[in-house]
Symmetry: C2
Subunit: 337 residues, 2 copies
Amino acid sequence: MKSLRLKILVSLQFLPLTALALEPLPSWNDGPAKKSIIDFVEKVTRPGSPDFVPVSERIATFDNDGTLWCEQPVPVQLFFVLDRVKALAPQHPEWQTQEQFASILKGDLKTAMAGGERGLMELVMATHAGMTTVEFEQIVKDWIATAKLPKTGKLYTEMTYQPMLELLAYLRANGFKTFIVSGGGIEFMRPWAERVYGIPPEQVIGSSVKTKFEMREGGPVLVRLPEVNFIDDKGGKPVGINQHIGRRPLMAFGNSDGDRQMLEYTQSGGGVRFELLVLHDDAAREYAYGPALGLPDSKLAAFTQALYDEAKKGGWTVVSIKGDWKQVFAETNAVSH
Amino acid sequence: MKSLRLKILVSLQFLPLTALALEPLPSWNDGPAKKSIIDFVEKVTRPGSPDFVPVSERIATFDNDGTLWCEQPVPVQLFFVLDRVKALAPQHPEWQTQEQFASILKGDLKTAMAGGERGLMELVMATHAGMTTVEFEQIVKDWIATAKLPKTGKLYTEMTYQPMLELLAYLRANGFKTFIVSGGGIEFMRPWAERVYGIPPEQVIGSSVKTKFEMREGGPVLVRLPEVNFIDDKGGKPVGINQHIGRRPLMAFGNSDGDRQMLEYTQSGGGVRFELLVLHDDAAREYAYGPALGLPDSKLAAFTQALYDEAKKGGWTVVSIKGDWKQVFAETNAVSH
């Protein structure tokens, strides 16, 4: 026992000071955003604090597109849809003349997307259904391992935000359970979320198609049906949180009007709560967009003036990528575009 | 440090030997069922074992009614429905003459239940919807804290099975995440599952009604709608498992035909897996029922001969309450009826 004690003391002596100090969030600049996060976490985790929250209630929910990884020029899952249309085209000769598939196959995305949300949903059903859950998981795994963002030549998983990865790790080190609550497909995120974000499948909430249990010769399978089961966006986010978690988040993180209800639901939970929005204002290192900046909106990701006003009124933390983040992407300091 | 070490040694000396040996599953008789559980857990958790399974994949799913607590003479949630009809009757004068409410209020359960599954669903909607999720949670909490099984005068939470509570704890001590996967209402189980079973709300899967996000004067709420969202039974169990967990269970536990697909889905996952069924064959200490015993079936809980045959063929463990359990209920050795 004595020699073990000695060993520990000797080991401590040779540890670098930074490791002992455990400085959290190294890619965040010192400022009100970083301070608000750390102050809150210390307040709810310090034993004896009047705002102490037990570990079981330390639930943190994160939007994905635009919050944990880049959603420009279009959300990543749309690139996946387009690649799937191309991959499946040989089995669908009728797509050569049938809109909106024909335009996608010709590379004319503008015409292909003219159908709006309804047209997008039809594309999702044509590419995300008809196979088993195991087959779909493999399709996603293969795609995410190799597919690259056209403009940058980077893997999509390299377009994750370094400061947010640090935030996820910091919260988990403080006893939080971290969840994704995204409008994206639940089965599109699960195959890689554990490797990339450290978030296991059972902590991923998203939109989904219906599935059906079927007994086949090789054993039972779940078949993905071309029918919407759940849309995890806007008012759907609190619904999805209640359905999957059954508790209200203590902290919630988003970046658009699609996250507003999740943050409102979090805030109204009683006691201390924390809400944060990422504002994309860094045209040099990432993108600058959204009406709150007086800039044109992308249809799929709106940070409106009304959301900005609500954030200020509600005491929500607004992160300026330009001002608050030392480094944006996980793998590099800049993305060229 | 020396005095602390002394204290520990002195404490150890006075601990009973059983505690030091950490004997798992003390309420299980030695026999093939207990042995099959322990052998499996040791096989998948021992480092270097050819069947080793990492902690993240150690998912165990449990049916609730008849697996973790008693489901006779009727499932507990039905008592809740009946009590809610009585509690809400003053606000519904029309129920005095409207079937099936009128029969319930007169205490004539046989007539009240004549409507079968459809009639039951109408009762559930009349009693489980129309309020917010927060209000419903409080209703369940108040009821479960005080309501008692008519015949025994015991709290329903005292009708949980001691051997299964030990099994849940044993699995968790071995790195398993334990989930409930029940046909019962997800929001009926969550308010007490953590206290009674040690299973947090985010690990409870069940049937549900749809909910709707609404902004009210006091803040945002989720309103429970009288519309089925999901039925977590039979083929619905693998669907619910995939939706909530996104991984296949390593171990699954049930007691009826409603659990068959969950066990089949578990078994077909590849590698070593474990499936277990509880057979209710102890008329003296609990109940004996089910066609597999040549006994009449209760409509809501069937252990059929076909299920028994499938269990034997598939190498599933079948637990005889009479033979395998030293003690049945968590709070007492016997229930009088």
